[in-house]
Structure formats: C-alpha cells, structure tokens
C-alpha cells in the first residue's frame, strides 16, 4: 500500500513539474514570437522593478550621502596639495587648449563650407546607477531616472570619459540601460586613425568583453588606436570616445577579431548622463562663444574640401585639409571664410589666438544649466 501511495505521489509530482515547465515554455514561445516588451510581460516586469528598485535606490542614495559627507567635510587630507596640482594642470591644459580650439574652429568652418549638418547635444539628464539586472549574462543597469524626467527608449547614455550604452526600457521612475558590452548591443564606430568603420558589440561568451566586428582581415589595425562613434547607428552622436583597441587577431571568415578596451569602466558605473535632446544644425563658423563640441576636440578632420585654386600653381597642398590648415585665420566673417578655399595661398598664415574656452563648454553637455549638472569622474 505504501508503495502505491509513494508511486502515486511521485507521478503527481512529475505531472506538476511537467505542467510548470510546459506553461513556461509556451510563455517563452509567445514572447519570442512577439516582442517581449510589447505589453504581454510588461506588467510583471513593472511589479518586480517596483519592488526591487526603490530599495536599491534608497541604499545607493544613503551610501552616497555618507560618502559625500565623509569626503567633503571630514577626510580632507592632501586636498591642498591636490589643489595645487590641479591648478598646474589647468595651466598646462589651457596652453594645449589654444591649439585645439584653433583646430576645432577650422574643422567647423570647413564643415560649414561643405554644408554639413551634424547632431549637437543640447540637453542631458544626470542619473545614478541603482542596480544591475542581477544576471551575469545580461549586461544592463537600472538608473534612477525614468519617463517622468523625460527619458525615452534609445536615448544614448554616456559618461565624461566615454559611451556607456542606450536606454532599452523606460519605466516611470527608472530606466533599463543596455551597456555596449552586452552581446545583444551594437554601436556603429570608426577607428580614429585608419577611419575604418565597424560594429561594436559584447562578446557572445557574455564575459563583458567588447569586440569590434565587420573589419576585413586585410586591413591594418593597430593596438592602442582609439575608437569613436561613427553616428551611423543614429543613436550615438558622432565622434564620442568608445575605447581603444586592446588586441587584434585573425577571426572567423574574412574579418579581424578585434578586442576593445572600453573608455569607461562599465563594471564600475555610478553616475551617467542620458542625452535627452540632440539637434541637427550646421556648425557656427565664427561664433567663438558658441559651445565647443567634444568631437571637435577629438580632432575629427575632414578628408577633402573644395577643389584646388585655378591653375594650381603656387599651391603646394593638394588636399583641402592641408590647405586649410595653412590658411586658417582665427576670427573671420562668413564672407571671408567663404573665400578661404578659393584663394588659399594669399591668406594670412598667422592665426589669431582665439578666446580661451570655458572647461564646461568642452564637455558634451551644453546649455540647460539646471539639468546639466557635472558628473564626477569615474
């Protein structure tokens, strides 16, 4: 009799197990057939997030409060020395900045001449990282800003040091950000020196490694070369630093296997910036007070400009870039600027020294002082 009961109990247990598994498999099949976030599972996710994120948010903010209090009011050892070092660094950077601003102005003028329109970052929202997804396979984070703060899906997320990822799902007070090292992520990038384009994504082994794909094996890629966003994905603004090439090897098929070291430490993110607004506009050629974009500082140069002067004599430079580099004035009117490529050799070689640009203008965040708070370095 005992055996019969035991056998019946085992059969019943197996039926329950099978039922639970079948239900989940059917649910999975439905989600795979339709987009997972279309609404069928959103309610469950919102419930789970509503339970978890308020607690993590409270813990993170409490910890930050104690940390700030300690570091700002108690532990100030070495601050004076650090201040002196920073002052010296500012002097050095200002000297470098003069040259870089000149290069940036030159690029902007050339872009204007070519009728280029680019995306300018005009509004950002700082956010705090409050939790991860809790899965080793899922490289994503939750931030403490959601639709109430104007966050929307596909908005790029960055730090002052580089690209972080994009907003994947938005909830009222939180958002899920897919990091660029997730295997399902993808960003259009360009190698700074060789100008080769590729797609950046996470390694399929889900170990957090960044890989650059779609670069042909006959191309030459150097270790240490910087990688910038190309803007081709229409999510990330062009010219933002993503990382550097850390290893190059032969890959599958005809492509190189390029490993990338991210510019931002993606496993230690605490604060990020969500770019909530970008504008398409032509660069201001002569407005020295206009915000200087980070991409200009990254020496995003144009390959060619207008055709060489008639006759070609007296013009040693064949490319527009080189020509313009030799003829760039500092502050000119638009009329003068339009004349630059037509008669390059007669322009004054000596450039005017432009006004120093405020440090805040160099960062990707511009305008909107109430929302563009500075985010501490990682």
């Amino acid at each position: 009799m005992e055996n019969v009961i035991s056998r019946f109990r085992n059969t019943a247990n197996l039926i329950v197990l099978a039922a639970v598994l079948v239900l989940q498999v059917v649910g999975l099949a439905v989600q795979v057939k339709r987009p997972a976030e279309a609404g069928s599972t959103r309610l469950i996710r919102v419930w789970a997030i509503s339970v978890v994120t308020p607690l993590t948010r409270a813990v993170v903010h409490t910890q930050d409060w104690f940390s700030d209090t300690w570091h700002n009011y108690v532990w100030l050892r070495g601050v004076r020395k650090q201040n002196e070092d920073l002052q010296n660094e500012i002097v050095q950077m200002k000297m470098r900045e003069v040259r870089m601003v000149e290069d940036a102005n030159q690029a902007r003028r050339l872009q204007l001449l070519l009728g280029f329109k680019e995306k300018y970052i005009s509004k950002t929202v700082p956010a705090q990282v409050i939790s991860t997804t809790g899965s080793e396979f899922s490289r994503a984070i939750y931030i403490d800003k959601g639709s109430k703060e104007g966050i929307a899906t596909d908005m790029p997320v960055v730090t002052p040091t580089g690209v972080v990822g994009k907003v994947l799902h938005v909830y009222p007070t939180t958002s899920l950000v897919l990091l660029i090292n997730d295997p399902t992520s993808g960003a259009g990038v360009i190698l700074e020196k060789s100008r080769l384009q590729g797609i950046l994504k996470g390694d399929v082994r889900a170990n957090g490694t960044l890989m650059l794909s779609n670069v042909m094996s006959d191309e030459k890629v150097e270790v240490g070369e910087r990688i910038l966003t190309s803007g081709g994905d229409r999510i990330f603004p062009k010219g933002m630093l993503v990382g550097t090439v850390s290893a190059v090897g032969p890959g599958q098929d005809l492509f190189l296997n390029i490993r990338v070291k991210p510019a931002t430490s993606l496993s230690k993110l605490e604060e990020v910036l969500v770019i909530t607004k970008m504008e398409d506009r032509a660069p201001d050629a002569v407005a020295s007070d206009a915000p200087i974009r980070a991409i200009d500082i990254l020496a995003e140069r144009l390959p060619t400009v207008a055709p060489p002067p008639p006759g070609g004599e007296g013009s040693a430079n064949k490319t527009g870039t080189a020509t313009a580099a030799a003829t760039t004035p500092g502050q000119k009117t638009p009329a003068e600027l339009k004349a630059i490529p037509k008669n390059p050799t007669q322009q004054a070689v000596k450039p005017d020294v432009p006004k120093p640009v405020k440090a805040a203008q160099v960062t990707p965040t511009v305008k909107e002082p109430e929302t563009n708070k500075e985010v501490p370095r990682q």
């Binding site: 019943a12 247990n13 329950v16 197990l17 639970v20 598994l21 989940q24 498999v25 649910g27 999975l28 099949a29 989600q31 795979v32 997972a36 599972t41 469950i44 996710r45 419930w47 789970a48 997030i49 339970v51 978890v52 607690l55 993590t56 813990v59 993170v60 910890q63 990282v129 409050i130 939790s131 991860t132 997804t133 809790g134 899965s135 080793e136 396979f137 899922s138 994503a140 984070i141 939750y142 994947l168 799902h169 899920l176 897919l178 295997p183 399902t184 399929v204 082994r205 889900a206 170990n207 496993s267 230690k268 993110l269 605490e270």
Partner: protein, 169 residues
C-alpha cells in the same frame, strides 16, 4: 552525503514572511551588489536560495514552484524573455528537493558538492533554453563555469548556515 531512510530525514518549514523576505532580499542583493562589487556578478544568490528551500522542505512540488517563482522574478529584472531562468530554476528546485528527500545534505561538504552540481545543471539548462528556444547567442566555457560553480558553492555554505537559523521543525 549520507544515505538515510526517508522517514528519518527531517522536513523543515519556514514562516511565510521569512520565505518571501529571503527571496526578495536575494533578488535585491543580486541586483544591487554588482554595482558596488563588480565580482559579485559571478554569484547567483537566487539559485542558492532556491536550492536551500528545496532541500530543507524536501517537497518536490514546493521545490519546483519556488524555483519557478524565483526564476521568473529574476527574468523580469533582466532584459530577456520571462521563463529562461524560470525553467532552469524549476528543474533545479525539483531536483534539489528530490535529492533532499533521499539523502542528508546538512553538512558543509555535501552542501558544497551539491551546489556545485546544481549550478552546472542550472547553467546548462539556461544555455540550452537561451540558444535553443530564445535564439540568444551564448557559449559554454568550461573554465568559466567551473570557477563560478566553486565560487557559488563556497558562498552557498555560508548562506545555508545563516538561513538554517530560520528553520522550523
């Protein structure tokens, strides 16, 4: 591990508040700690909690249902379809309670080995579902999985010792 007669194996119960609290705490810690401690990503606290409750209760139905709920909650926080972790933890919950009903897994050595084994089972089921049903691009790496299995097993010994205090006969 010692083989015992089923009627001699003790079955434990838990206060419902403790069960819910421990499950939610494991999910919160799993989501929060990697923000501050990056290495914590290798741990799977919800899996450890699933194994603990399954082994302690020794009821296969309760074990698989607990695993399903914890797995689905974990899925809902990740950006993947609901059910990937759910199925893996359902199977682990059922298997752990079956094991707990047959043998005694009260000492740290047996808990270490048991958690290592169940971690590998969990990961292999996850991989099969992720690749076969969902179409996610995932790869199995033996070194990585074994290292994580050992890490989770060591953590499980500590967590089990803490959770033992909530057991009721």
């Amino acid at each position: 591990m010692t083989n015992q007669r089923p009627d001699r194996i003790e079955v434990y119960r838990f206060n419902p508040a403790v069960t819910v609290g421990v499950v939610i705490a494991s999910l919160i810690l799993q989501a929060f700690l990697p923000v501050k401690l990056g290495f914590f990503r290798v741990f799977d606290l919800p899996l450890i909690v699933t194994i603990f409750f399954a082994v302690a209760r020794r009821s296969q139905v309760t074990g698989c249902l607990t695993g399903a709920v914890i797995g689905l909650l974990q899925d809902s926080l990740a950006h993947q379809p609901l059910g990937v972790f759910g199925i893996a933890k359902t199977v682990v919950g059922y298997a752990a309670s079956s094991l707990g009903a047959k043998i005694d897994v009260e000492n740290p050595g047996s808990r270490l080995l048991m958690t290592m084994g169940f971690y590998l089972v969990h990961e292999s089921i996850y991989l099969v579902i992720a690749r076969g049903l969902v179409g996610l691009d995932r790869q199995w790496m033996w070194g990585h999985e074994l290292r994580n299995a050992v890490a989770n097993a060591v953590l499980a010994v500590v967590v089990f010792a803490v959770l033992d205090k909530f057991k009721q006969r």
